[in-house]
């Protein structure tokens, strides 16, 4: 009886493993994520031609990826050229975290972007920061790809 149960469980788990590995491979083939950072352009808007408005983060992270730095350098160049523009950096998190922690995490992400822009000569007077936590997702899906799109800091023109 007990052996039977164990066998059954084993089967179940083998199946689960197959299912999971299937997921894993499909993720890679979609080519829109590197690790769990979104690399696609689905939701991305542009401040100006060739200047993407947002950068993406890994789960629970606020470290800027190489791609994010490149995006932010473009933004900095654009902002230096248009010195009258002020911006709001909106930090967001995915739905897989508690609300209050995500508010703090969104703030940390937006500030990571802010700090980087400042090192490229943008005055902190021109930048304000606003965290939405997980309150304003761009993708309402409940899957890793959607979550990766939602872990972001978006640069929004304030004037």
């Amino acid at each position: 009886m007990k052996l039977n149960k164990i066998l059954k469980n084993t089967l179940l788990i083998v199946f689960a493993c197959f299912a999971l590995s299937a997921c894993a491979t499909s993720k890679k083939t979609s080519g829109q994520m590197q690790g769990d950072v979104y690399t696609g352009t689905d939701s991305v808007e542009y401040l100006a031609s060739g200047v993407p408005d947002r950068v993406f983060f890994a789960t629970n992270e606020s470290v800027l990826t190489t791609a994010s730095r490149e995006t932010l350098r473009k933004q900095a160049a654009y902002l230096r050229k248009n010195s009258k523009i002020t911006i709001v950096l909106e930090g967001h998190a995915d739905e897989r975290g508690t609300r209050e922690y995500n508010l703090a995490l969104g703030e940390r992400r937006a500030n990571a972007a802010k700090d980087y822009l400042m090192t490229y000569g943008i005055s902190s007077n021109r930048i304000s920061v606003l965290s939405y936590g997980k309150e304003r997702p761009v993708d309402s899906g409940s899957n890793p790809l959607a979550w990766s799109k939602n872990r972001r800091s978006v640069t929004v023109k304030a004037n």
Partner: protein, 447 residues
């Protein structure tokens, strides 16, 4: 003398073979809810007609007993018996229950009572009987304005609950929460308040700005919450009796995760600046602001112990979200969560012995409790997404919210309030007119 002792010893040792007191250990019983009969409250014809005119309810005695019955059933601790099986009419039962009759339908407790219209007021007497012992356990009478009839039902339930469990009840209470509508990407959120049983639902804000995490003051009808009014996320204070609101403190950035101290005199919250969230308190009388934590990591979700001496909070100073406890002055910070996974939203039980939390482990969310030193972790419920437990005022039940997974098209999202007993039994959805999240339980409205 010695001989006497010898005789006694002899008496104890020898005859005990045949006369010793036999002990039998009873370590099991049934955990079925206690069968209880809620007899409809009796009412005289004159009173019935008066209340019908005022309240538009056919028989207010029946209505009140229905409230008691639903409350008892919802608690999971009682099993109100089917009224069809009652042998004694309400008016007679109220005077003199025939315990044999109630015994026959296996009731172990019986509630009877009488409603009358007296000087334009509602007067309710009720009695709780122990059917097996054949004795009265509680007898009380209430007088109030007729429109308060639902609360009379709740207060009676509280008294019955207290007498039969030894703990205070939680029925004459309200729940404040965030009512949600609209698509997930553009969710409209309003503050809403309702009675514990879902009646008297009211919206307190219009939904023009995002509002989050309302929490009751344990000592009054004040609420603190986070509002994105003018896109400036700040902690606000709202008096739900007068509707007056004010910003808490003058912070140059986002304040969030507010909660009252147990005496209701302070608000504890997080203030985020330059990517670092720290915990602050503000005294509501003298407006003095104190910084409690000082660490470059995220420190949030603070909650006082009921004696006000300690604070539990959420921090990622170890690299990941974990639960910490410190003295209320910020000293002696100690991590208490060491299980696998991430821990958030610690809330200190009003009894003081437990901390409820949300846990994320392997893609599942759990609501659980642990002792205040982190030992004895028990997970009560597992789901795709759920968080933000709030304690019933007696520390027996947790209410939290749960969100569903959306389908391939990103549809099918919903958020609902759920409650669960501390034992992990009796999980049930709390009905709300709209989707709902971030519940907070008030303390008892009476006494």
């Amino acid at each position: 003398m010695r001989i006497l002792i010898k005789i006694i010893i002899f008496l104890i040792l020898i005859p005990s073979k045949s006369f010793g007191l036999i002990e039998v250990d009873i370590t099991r019983g049934n955990l079925d809810p206690l069968p209880i009969a809620v007899s409809p409250l009796s009412i005289d014809e004159n009173s019935r007609q008066n209340f019908e005119k005022i309240l538009k309810k056919g028989n207010i005695g029946n209505e009140i007993s229905k409230i008691i019955e639903i409350n008892l059933k919802t608690s999971g601790l009682f099993n109100p018996l089917n009224k069809d099986a009652f042998l004694q009419a309400p008016d007679i039962a109220n005077l003199k229950p025939r315990f044999e009759d109630w015994n026959l339908i296996k009731a172990q407790a019986l509630i009877t009572g009488k409603v009358s219209y007296l000087d334009e007021k509602l007067r309710v007497e009720f009695r709780l009987w122990d059917v097996l012992a054949g004795k009265e356990m509680v007898a009380l009478a209430f007088t109030t304005v007729p429109t308060n009839w639902r609360r009379v039902g709740h207060i009676i339930t509280d008294k019955v609950y207290q007498r039969l469990t030894g703990e205070k009840g939680y029925f004459d209470t309200r729940i404040i929460y965030v009512a949600e509508e609209g698509p997930k990407t553009k969710r409209i959120k309003k503050l809403a308040i309702m009675d514990q049983d879902g009646a008297n639902n009211k919206f307190l804000t219009l939904g023009n700005e995002l509002v989050l995490t309302p929490r009751f003051n344990p000592t009054s009808q004040m609420v603190t919450y986070l509002s994105y009014f003018r896109n400036l996320p700040r902690v606000y204070l709202l008096d739900i009796e007068t509707g007056t609101q004010e910003v808490v403190g003058d912070f140059p950035g986002m304040t969030f995760a507010p909660r009252f101290s147990p005496d209701g005199k302070k608000i504890i919250m997080s203030f985020a600046k330059d990517g670092n969230s720290e915990i602050y308190t503000m005294d509501l009388e003298n407006r003095i602001v104190e910084k409690i934590t000082n660490h470059p990591s995220i420190d949030t979700s603070p909650s006082f112990s009921p004696d006000g001496k300690f604070i539990c909070f959420n921090s990622d100073r170890s690299g990941y979200q974990q639960i910490y406890v410190m003295r209320s002055d910020g000293s002696k910070v100690k991590r208490i969560s060491f299980g696998k996974g991430l821990y958030g939203t610690p809330v200190w039980s009003p009894r003081g012995d437990l901390i409820a939390f949300t846990k994320l482990h392997k893609g599942k969310f759990y609501i659980g409790v642990m002792r205040t030193d982190g030992s004895g972790e028990r997970l009560l419920t597992e789901n795709f997404y759920q968080e933000a437990p709030s304690w019933s005022p007696n520390g027996r039940v947790l209410i939290f919210y749960r969100e569903t997974k959306t389908d391939d098209k990103g549809e099918g999202f919903s958020a609902k309030l759920w409650s669960i007993d501390l034992t992990g039994y009796n999980e049930r959805m709390v009905k709300t007119p709209t989707d709902a999240s971030d519940p907070s339980w008030s303390s008892l409205l009476s006494n």
